[in-house]
Symmetry: C2
Subunit: 509 residues, 2 copies
């Protein structure tokens, strides 16, 4: 590829009526731009010919100005390459100074932000989510992704663009992709849907946000799972909702407890296939109870099916949406876990009578999804690569899970209870109350073990301390060593792991 | 590429404790799924071996079930290809029936949607925006885009994925992209910024939406340009803002009128470089007035710089943001017009003290932007293709604009006044009041001329009737004919164009 010199034309305000000669105006414009560091050191400059033509003036004043700037050391020439902002100008020193004097010159007067901004917790990465490696959660085995197949499909579409691939697309998403997703959801997930109900979004989070905006008002009550997914809670907080934490037990969300707490909630957000973080699967009777509540109370249910593709031991479990006879379930899925996160493709299955509202809202939010990856994903699914990848990964994750469970049993015996290992890419362990999961996770992160503590997933007092252990991106060979490492890390005088005998066995009731 | 048979495994609930034999359970599961059309006619089925292994049962009952389904005509085999759902089953007939009985079985009980959903106008494509061709607005010359260069960059990144290209990215966007955009904005647009203030979003609309959510509350007053950009207004409507239309004249937004109408607005949304739809450029004195208002009233300004790359005749005009000493301007740009819309990449330049709020909000909205196109765009800019493309297009659009202006003058003489032709990819024409622009646009669309009428861009009574004429995607050769076509279309007895002599010349005052 030719790396041709094609720098941007700087903004130079030429005023022909001014008394100052043109070469002087050009000189001063460049000098002040360089002094204020709006041109970087070493940045290439347009040729005198190009600049003169862009400014619509003769080349003479431009040549004069360049000569002056070269003479004063603002510019430098490199043989055969052209003219550049001098790379020897002091940079760092004056840069921070400039920041303070120009960029951060914050005015007097109020800096009023929205109530949503005030309510929203700041974005920060916890110590245990900074890197990837043993036990990091939500990470698929990216090394096992069929990158070559995928790249071939990308190349195919990049080389043969069709006309519609460049313009604005359908706000619902690419029709062909919605059709193959509909087939997949009907066949493999028991979702009742047609492609016209499916909207392509950038992932679960946009799906949640879109649903909240289409359905919820400030002050509406919303059931969330306790413990539950923090980022969904943040989004609902920003939306001004009243968040009602409803406890999760071994059967999933405790619907009765929810009704007792707040029977007239507008919406319930659940992950019935594989709850986050506990990993439990909602029982059939709870599913029916929840649907009955929604029907009677006129509530909505968001079913977040973020990693249900992988199920071990038992058969796959049909979606809640598939049981719903009153179209009260909004079903959400994503390709972030089953393919890769930076793909940014997910979907919402919207009850038919709500499609127009979701469509108008999505259009006002971000118009339509980008084209290329939608087309690539369509082929990836239609040509069978997707189904094959899921099957391969199910075998791989099943092996990793088995080794993890066995290693935990061997090292921790009855101290830890393993839950939620029947599906997905993580399981949870709960441990006696005297352990502080957050403190241990901090310590583990310093030794490159990435444990997500359970307690921050609770809004109220944590019913359990423990960890979320991801096994998606941890190889079978790494697991036993990492679990042993974890044991040594916990076995400090303070934590007194030798006191196992007297510890009450914790349990998700 | 091998098109291997790799169908999804259907959900089959196997109950070992049930009295019914396994083969019967499998048979019934398939039959009811097919009858309910959750499996499509002609869809491939897993092999008996695969299914038996997935269900964790012996192959015998699966073989029995398949034999029965084949015998009854639900399945069919194709030599060498496997087993499929019979393609001869009645499809269409029962399909619509199913829709009514299952998918659209809407329950009794309220279907409560959000206030935002109620306020938001429905999404529909106007007749003049359905296709592309002469005068369609907002359409770049996609045929001139250097697709081959772009495809080579896509292929380069697709074939050599780096580890971080698959995982979740920075919610601010790719660092390298933000850096090259910062250089571009400082150099060519006079924006004062560092890369840490730049956030990559999916386009102007997401930038607007994000800014509104970070800064505005329900009930806040917002100045919008009258006439102005409808989709931005829709988004603010959904946010529950009180929309204050402020008239636009030949100098841009009339700041004094805005202050008189609502001095304590929380935000002003403007497109000072090339207003939509009138195409006027905000004068220097109005810019200073607007900044002064913002400083004194504690208001925010969103500068929507959607197509300012192209300027004809005069020199480029520095951004409003560059004049702002009190960090009250949020600067928004997009690559949709200068590259292509389906790219879905835009950016926001956020005042430094607001960056954390924008970051938290963006993360709660959709986590982070997709990777591939960010990386490709970084190279496209860094290797000079971007600057070169802009320069080529400026020449091309300038030519198209000149021909359009000349053709309009020749055909319409003094009947139409041309405005906003100094920049961008569209100009506006205003015409005497007796013409109904919406009606003419409807008629034109039937003859494949895509005129956007001006009057729907007004919230109140339209001050002008006329059209937005895009020249980005209309070739120089097409323009004269299309303008003549337009004249014949208008010259009906009803519109009486021959009355030109007596018509008062319209004008943007």
């Amino acid at each position: 590829m030719r790396k041709a010199a094609s720098p941007f034309i700087p903004l130079i305000p030429i005023n022909r009526k001014s008394g100052r000669p043109l070469h002087r105006q050009i000189y001063e414009a460049f000098r002040s731009t360089i002094v204020e560091h709006n041109l970087n050191c070493g940045q290439q400059l347009p040729s005198t010919r190009t600049l003169a033509s862009e400014l619509g003036i003769s080349r003479i004043p431009v040549l004069n100005a360049y000569a002056q700037l070269l003479a004063e050391g603002y510019f430098e020439t490199r043989a055969g390459a052209g003219t550049f902002v001098s790379s020897s100008l002091p940079d760092r020193a004056t840069r921070s100074e400039r920041r303070e004097t120009s960029s951060i010159k914050i005015a007097s007067g109020p800096r009023r932000i929205s109530r949503a901004s005030v309510l929203l917790p700041p974005y920060k990465r916890a110590p245990w989510s900074r890197r990837h490696g043993a036990f990091s959660a939500g990470q698929p085995a990216l090394g096992e992704f069929p990158l070559k197949v995928w790249a071939n499909l990308v190349v195919r579409h990049a080389r043969k663009p069709v006309a519609r691939s460049l313009g604005y697309g359908d706000p619902m998403g690419l029709k062909e992709l919605r059709e193959v997703i509909a087939v997949y959801l009907r066949t493999a997930r028991g979702v009742r849907c047609d492609s016209q109900q499916i909207m392509i979004v950038s992932g679960s989070q946009q799906a949640l946000d879109l649903s909240a905006r289409a359905l919820l008002n400030v002050g509406n009550s919303v059931w969330v799972e306790e413990p539950g997914y923090w980022l969904a809670r943040h989004m609902l907080t920003a939306a001004g909702c009243r968040i009602v934490p409803v406890p999760v037990d071994a059967e999933g969300l405790n619907v009765e407890a929810g009704i007792k707490e707040c029977g007239n909630a507008r919406l319930a957000l659940v992950a019935p296939s594989h709850q986050y973080p506990l990993g439990v699967t909602m029982s059939a009777s709870r599913r029916l109870q929840l649907l009955q509540w929604a029907r009677e109370a006129g509530g909505w249910i968001i079913e977040d099916d973020y990693d249900s593709e992988y199920r071990y031991e038992s058969n796959p479990i049909a979606s809640l949406q598939g049981l719903d006879d009153s179209c009260r379930v909004i079903y959400i899925g994503t390709f972030s876990k089953v393919l890769f996160p930076s793909l940014r493709i997910g979907y919402v299955v919207v009850p038919l009578d709500l499609v127009d509202h979701f469509l108008a809202m999505r259009h006002a939010m971000d118009v339509s999804p980008p084209y290329l990856y939608q087309a690539v994903l369509t082929d990836f699914i239609a040509e069978g690569h997707f189904a094959r990848h899921i099957r391969r990964m199910r075998v791989l994750y099943s092996e990793r899970r088995n080794i993890l469970v066995r290693s935990l049993e061997r090292e921790f015996r009855s101290l830890w209870q393993v839950v939620g290992d029947k599906a997905g890419m993580h399981l949870a362990v709960s441990m006696p109350e005297r352990f502080d999961d957050r403190e241990i996770a901090m310590r583990a992160a310093r030794e490159s073990l990435w444990l997500w503590p359970l307690s921050p997933s609770y809004m109220g007092k944590p019913a359990h301390h423990g960890f979320i252990l991801g096994f998606g991106s941890t190889t079978a060979a790494e697991i036993p060593g990492a679990v042993h490492h974890l044991l040594t890390l916990m076995d400090t005088p303070r934590n007194a792991i030798s006191a196992t005998g007297t510890a009450t066995r914790p349990g998700i009731q």
